[in-house]
Structures are given as C-alpha cells and as structure tokens.
Symmetry: C2
DNA sequence: TTTCGTTTGCGTCAATTTAACGTGAAGTAA
DNA sequence: TTACTTCACGTTAAATTGACGCAAACGAAA
C-alpha cells in the first residue's frame, strides 16, 4: 500500500523576482538588502515562499506589495530552479518571474523585512545571495531575446514616448548600437506604435512626435536584428 | 517569532513529461493509461512526484526509466504549472519538461503503474487527465518555435539522415509546406549538417546522401521562416 | 534677425536575403 | 530504351537590410 497523499515530505517552494526598471537611459534591477539570516546584510532578489492557497502570481503580487510597495505590473514566468544547495536552509525550489516596471510610477519603499531596497544598474550589480546571480543572468538574457520579436519595451516607458526614447531603450538593453533611421523604419512599418499627433514640448531641439503602444499588435510582427546576442 | 523553517505546509511537487517521438513521418507523444485514481483508465502524460533529494532531471530520468523503459534522452524544462485545481488530490505544482526521442532506439514498456503506454499522433490525441492537454499544447508550441532557430531536429532522427528526411520532419512539426530546395540551401549554408560521403542504399530512386548533425553548430546560426506559427 | 549646432523625420541605394521555380543526373522498373 | 521518381544544384525577380544623406524644426547664441 502506498503512502497517503500528504505524507510525503515536500521541498519548500519560493518565488523570486527579477524586477527590471528603466530610468535615465539605464536598465536597473531592484534588489533588497536582507535583515535576517541567511545572507543577512546581503543583496538579493525579492522573493518569498508560496503559501498553500496562492498561485505563483498571487505570491508575486504579495512580494511586490509588501517588499517594494508596487502593484499591477507586467510579470512573466522565467524558469524554475532546483539546484539542491541553492538555499542553505534546506531544499527550496524557486520559481523565477521577471517584471518590467516604469520606476516613475512607483515610490519604492523597503518593507519591514529588509534593511533597504534599491535600484542597481544591471552592469554594476553587487554580489548576490543564494543563486540569484544565476537567476538574474538568465532573466536578462530572456529580456534581450524577447524584445527582438515581442513588443514589451513599452512596459518600461511612459504611456507616451518618442521613437528616440524607444530606440535608446533598445540600445541600452541590447548593449549595442542600432541605426536610428533603420530602427525607426522597422518600428513604424510593423505598426509597433501609434502616432498620437502630439509632440513632446520644452526640449532644446526639434520637438519629437509622441507615440503610444499599439495594443492590437501581435507577437512576431516584427524582428529586430542585432550583431550579437 | 516566525515559524521554524519546515513547519510551513508545502504544495506537492510533480514533474510531468511531454515525450515527443517521430516515426513514419508522424510526430507522436507518449501517453500512459493510468491504473489508479485519480483519472483511472484515462490517458495522461507520464509524471511523478519529486523526491526530497532529487533534482528535476533526476525525477525525469526516474519517470522515463520506470514508466517507459527509456534513458539518456534530450530533455528541456518547459514551464511550471500552478492552477490550484489542476490535481483533484490537492495542491500539486507541476514542472513540465519535454523530451525528444527517436522511438527506434527504444522498446517502450509499460511500468507496473500503468495499464498501457502508447504513442499518439499529436493531431489525434485522446482526452487527457489533469491539465495535461494544456501542458501538451504549450510544449508543442515551444517545439514549433524552437526548431526554427535551434538545431534540435536531429534528436528525433537516426544518427545518419538525409536532407529530405530532415525536411519532412520540419514540415511535419510545423504542419506547413516548406520549399524543398530553399530548405536544403539554408540547412547547408548554416552548416547544420555534415555530409558523411555515404548514401542511403536500397531505395527506389536516386540514392540520397547521408548527413550527420554538426555538433559544433551554435544556436541562432540559422533561421527557418514559415508563413504562420 | 540671422547664424549655429543639434535632433528629428524621411529618403536613397547598393548589397544581401528570400521566395518561387527550372532542370539535368541518378536511380528502379517496365 | 523508355518511363517515372527523387535528388542536387541553379536561376531570377522581389523583398529586406544596412549604411548613409539631407532638409526641416527647434532653442540658443550672435
């Protein structure tokens, strides 16, 4: 006779979040300085254990709300991590999600569990606790390949943006140069964006036109090409 | 004071496998007829619970070995599934993996847990238990997009194969027609395959050259284009 | 008012890639 | 030999890409 269903011992299940934000032409990730062991006083990705009644997305929302003060953001599952030694407290499986945030929308606050919560330039990360360096690297890779064919860039920008701002975002994320005029042509031909007819005022030079994201656009209707990945 | 680490109740963790095989110009998936409740006498994906000391891949191997008699196959993580109602026994999180198999390599055997194990044409699946229809559909989608830029097709073929066989595989998986001559050129230009100098003998017509996979080939060195996805 | 430096928006064009199709050689069977 | 099929390699027009040119639109300086 086999054991009854819940007699088996199960690993703990955690959700870890890679929260990307874009500000001042810099791609950043939100890290949290831990107040408790393990990895006390170390920087880590925000995370938390899955409660019995929660879905992954419920847990994501709870972490976002209590640890950083944010809600209602773009979230996508990244990968699940199972290396036996990844958490010194015991066997913990982590489901990684990544979020795309416009930092202007939120006033980040450190929850009571953390010493501090801060944005870090993705090119200048501190040493991270657990296997979070690994999770982070995978998420950045995913983001880089995703923006080439899926219009998610706008999640990181204001509601209205100029083509130049979108172009700068792509160059920043992909860490490469893309010809400005060819980029414009591709984005417009694909109908990635809709011209609002308004212009951004108060700039030094020619006032660029403001666009908004074309919500009817489907995946794979454009393809940005870059030299290397 | 917070609870001690392992006092929290955790959901069970299962691994479910979508095992793809290609035979007689047909893409098939391996299903298992359950001997026990829930979904007794229903067809489902092979799966099993994660043991405390196992990694996901350990669990995959164990399921493959005990439920189907296979080992040493291509495996890749698909996605993790958390819908609260997906398993009638309680809260079970499933990590989906998919496998690519050359059915000629194995003699499939039903383990003691199953009434039967059988290959099903992916276009003619029976009704599946749990949320396995959902898992299967996602995996097929993944396979379809993956073979466009990643040379995994050879995992489903014999060690030596002809360009025509590879071409038929692509048409079968993508369920579309691809121009034979353009396909050949692209595959050869990308150095997807290496000509072995030998030919397949005993055929009705002209004997085609046999190729093997170029193991030095990296991802993204080719890109197959098709009409729709 | 005019000039200057910069950004923006649109265009051009050669090089490359793609899609669609032709054709002759290699094989078996009649 | 002829007939029929698959295989291997070409050809060509169309589409896309990559690398630029340039003039209009702006604020600032002259």
């Amino acid at each position: 006779m086999s054991k009854l269903f819940h007699e088996y011992k199960n690993p703990s299940l955690a959700v870890d979040l890679v929260i990307f934000g874009y500000h001042d032409k810099t791609l950043s990730v939100l890290l949290l300085n831990r107040k408790e062991e393990p990895f006390k006083d170390c920087w880590t990705l925000p995370g938390g254990f899955l409660q019995m009644e929660e879905t992954f997305l419920d847990t994501c929302s709870r972490i976002l709300k209590t640890k950083t003060g944010m809600d209602d953001v773009f979230l996508e599952q990244l990968y699940s991590f199972d290396e036996p030694g990844r958490d010194p407290r015991g066997r913990v499986i982590a489901v990684g999600y990544y979020a795309l945030i416009n930092p202007a929308r939120f006033n980040i606050i450190a929850g009571s569990m953390a010493n501090d919560v801060k944005w870090f330039d993705v090119r200048k990360l501190p040493k991270l606790g657990f296997d979070h360096e690994h999770i982070f690297r995978l998420s950045l890779q995913r983001l880089k390949s995703k923006i080439l064919y899926d219009p998610v860039g706008f999640e990181l920008l204001d509601e209205l943006f100029t083509i130049t701002e979108l172009h700068e975002l792509y160059e920043c994320i992909l860490q490469t140069t893309i010809d400005r005029r060819n980029f414009r042509r591709k984005i417009l031909d694909a109908e990635y964006v809709i011209n609002t007819g308004t212009k951004r005022e108060g700039l030094q030079n020619r006032h660029p036109e403001l666009y908004k994201f074309n919500k009817k656009l489907k995946k794979n209707s454009f393809q940005i090409n870059v030299n290397a990945t």
